[in-house]
Symmetry: C2
Subunit: 193 residues, 2 copies
Amino acid sequence: MTGPRGYTYGSADLETSPVSLDDLRKIEETILWTDADRQALLRARPILEPRTDEILDVWYGYVGDHPFLIESFAGADGNPDPDYLAAVRERFKIWVVDLCSREHDQEWLNYQHEVGLRHTSAKKNLTDAVESPAAEIKLRYLIGFIVPLTATMRPFLAEGTSDPEELDAMYGAWFKGVTLTAILWSEPYSTSW
Amino acid sequence: MTGPRGYTYGSADLETSPVSLDDLRKIEETILWTDADRQALLRARPILEPRTDEILDVWYGYVGDHPFLIESFAGADGNPDPDYLAAVRERFKIWVVDLCSREHDQEWLNYQHEVGLRHTSAKKNLTDAVESPAAEIKLRYLIGFIVPLTATMRPFLAEGTSDPEELDAMYGAWFKGVTLTAILWSEPYSTSW
Ligand code: HEM
Ligand code: HEM
């Protein structure tokens, strides 16, 4: 396994996702996901990959501006834990690249399951061994992040193309990818998932 | 009460939403909702209101194309129930207008709570007294609908303005409004909401 601390994509130790590939195909149909979206994200990757640090500056700036969001990164003393923030930052950067390029296969599903759990009380704080008073991320914000994680990406994509149709294609595909992520990560939150 | 059958917005009989106005303000901040979005939706209303029948044709066409979605509208015999579809269609049309123009106040919250429940086993099928084998809408699709309910609106908005910035403003505000709806309706689905 290479990659940042705690990044276990593809590890044989991961649980098998309770979401089947057939479930996934239905969700993809629901969000109008097509091969054109996959292709558009593959083209977005070289635009975004060199800029993940700037992207994370924007996202962490946004989280830091909202006390009810930054409290999720609290350490034992109740203040934002710099080590926790730094470790998650590296995994977040690789998520951007993965969302652009990974196949939607069983391995991918298994890591979505893992990271969904890392937002719930089942696994939050374990990966970075942080004694955080914040035991879970609430579902309302998990869904809510679809908006900022989509909207803030548009300027980055716009700087990578001068063709408005190409921008729409990449931006629309990114929106679908983020929504798909939120859907899969919401699985452990509900018995009516 | 005026409006379509089963539309009880503002009724004194509605339960008070378990979501407080303070909760709502935090969710609005999370999705970057501002007064500019409210204004943009107010301007979108006269574009969309005369076209709600065409909009519903698009949405019902999409639902009808997917067996795992249209089954939610099954009647006692397992086939799509035309009366159920027709009744929900009228309430759906008024939702488009309400999303563009209603204040985000307690009355609004109470109706979001009611309609969220109408997607769960607590209240689905009651309003139209339908004996449906489909007892609930799954959370995965509730969140997933953010994409089609957002994306399919763009052409309608585009026909109402020739200014690309105005289109972006209205479309972005609509996206936030749909996401806010899905967030509020997801409340009964999770104890970690
Ligand atoms: C669509 C919504 C979201 C996305 C795409 C997202 C993305 C990510 C990613 C990529 C990671 C690292 C995953 C890994 O371990 O490999 C992560 C972890 C984390 N996220 Fe999110 N996130 C979302 C919602 C939220 C929200 C609403 C919060 C609240 C502020 C939040 C706070 C955190 C925290 C505290 C961690 C570390 C969890 C742990 O202890 O392992 N996330 N997120
Ligand atoms: C963001 C997601 C969704 C939105 C905005 C939405 C919108 C609406 C609206 C406006 C109504 C009528 C509300 C009223 O009674 O006043 C409704 C009811 C209904 N919707 Fe949805 N919907 C969403 C997700 C879904 C999904 C995923 C399905 C599955 C196909 C679905 C199926 C239904 C059904 C069957 C009803 C009738 C419920 C009842 O028995 O009262 N909806 N929806």
